[in-house]
């Protein structure tokens, strides 16, 4: 049992790391990775929702009727998103303002609903917790990696600390929308090269 839980956890870190291997939930990935702080904040918020919804859905999986399961999943997810929203308003207000619309939009993040449907609805509580944690941590790592590249190149800073000298000309393309797409595309390409057997 413990061994399988560990496997479920580790698969989220490489074999099925979102959004590279599971190409889901791209919107927050592209939108909030302008700075490392935003990237980590979004990752943690999504991880929390993912773990909680996975646990609850796994507990309720025999109670929820098959036909209305998607609607039930969405209600569960929306509840936890509301919790995150309220907690962030209370304790991390500046971050909440920066992430703005993307906090409520965790509800429609395909990763969360995808894991509920594909995993939590079929597996036990421990495995679902491990799966949620693994995918969540993987998602946070991806967001952070992308944010590091974009912030360093686009702003010349890392976590708001200048990395280069004052003569550095920021590569502002990277923090704009086009840079987000290109950067993610190239990172996916690198992942594909590394993943080749």
């Amino acid at each position: 049992m413990a061994k399988t839980a560990v496997q479920e956890f580790t698969k989220g870190l490489w074999a099925e790391i979102p959004p590279f291997r599971l190409v889901l939930g791209l919107c927050p990935v592209l939108a909030v990775t302008k700075t490392v702080e935003n990237g980590i904040g979004m990752g943690v918020a999504t991880t929390f929702v993912l773990i909680c919804s996975n646990i609850l859905i796994s507990l309720l999986r025999n109670v929820i009727p098959k036909k209305v399961r998607i609607a039930c999943f969405i209600v569960v997810i929306a509840t936890f998103v509301t919790v995150v929203e309220l907690v962030m308003q209370a304790f991390a207000y500046p971050l909440f303002l920066k992430l703005g619309i993307f906090i409520p939009l965790i509800v429609v993040n395909c990763i969360v609903l995808g894991r509920a449907e594909a995993f939590a609805a079929k597996n036990g509580v421990v495995a679902s917790f491990a799966d949620g944690l693994g995918i969540g941590v993987g998602f946070t790592l991806s967001l952070t990696a992308l944010a590091i590249v974009r912030e360093i190149l686009g702003n010349g800073t890392f976590y708001d600390i200048p990395v280069f000298g004052p003569s550095f000309e920021p590569f502002s393309f990277m923090v704009q929308a086009p840079g987000a797409f290109v950067c993610l595309g190239l990172m996916l390409c690198i992942m594909n090269m590394l993943g080749k057997k």
Partner: protein, 191 residues
């Protein structure tokens, strides 16, 4: 009148929902491999988004704000959208089977399309009036359709090109989207 024209231009081009606001990217990459599916998805989004925009505005102003229940916004919006999509699906299947055959398979996907939920939230945050919200929803949806169809056209050509192996599929798709986004970037500052 000019206000509305500016709003339309701003929503379709300057703040294009897909390429500038990063919303609705999953279907953007998912259904853009063929022109037919892209057009179907675009039509379905226009159809649902206008209705969702109107209904969520009414729900927010007359229900949530009146009773001070703003913290339930996320929950109620997603429920409104999900039930609306379900209802539209049932209605189309019974009364307009021709349209259902075209849009049917795209409708369930729309529930988790963040463009729909995103536009509804933007309407509220910008404090649009009812007509403005309606116009904005429609224009955002048209912008979504425009970007999706353009992208599908480009992707159909890419199939014929010789792409290096690691770059294939989603990877080259994202880079292409970046180029398209760069083109839309030229509209910035227009309004």
């Amino acid at each position: 009148m000019t206000d509305y024209i500016l709003l339309i231009v701003a929503c379709i081009f300057v703040n294009n929902i897909l390429l500038m606001q990063y919303l609705g990217n999953c279907p953007f990459l998912g259904v853009s491999k063929k022109m037919e599916t892209a057009v179907g998805m675009a039509m379905a989004v226009i159809f649902v988004l206008v209705m969702a925009g109107a209904i969520t505005w009414i729900v927010d102003v007359y229900l949530l704000k009146t009773f001070g229940l703003e913290y339930l916004r996320t929950l109620s919006f997603i429920l409104v959208i999900a039930s609306l999509v379900q209802f539209v699906e049932m209605f189309l299947r019974k009364s307009i089977p021709g349209l259902y055959a075209g849009l049917g398979i795209f409708l369930p996907l729309i529930t988790t399309n963040c463009a729909v939920m995103g536009v509804c939230l933007i309407n509220i945050m910008e404090e649009y009036s009812f007509t403005q919200a309606l116009v904005a929803s429609f224009s955002y949806a048209v912008g979504f359709g425009l970007a999706l169809v353009l992208f599908a056209g480009v992707r159909e050509r890419i199939i014929l090109a010789r792409v290096p192996k690691p770059l294939q599929d989603t990877s080259i798709g994202l880079v292409t989207a970046g180029m398209l986004s760069l083109a839309f970037f030229a509209f910035k500052g227009m309004v």
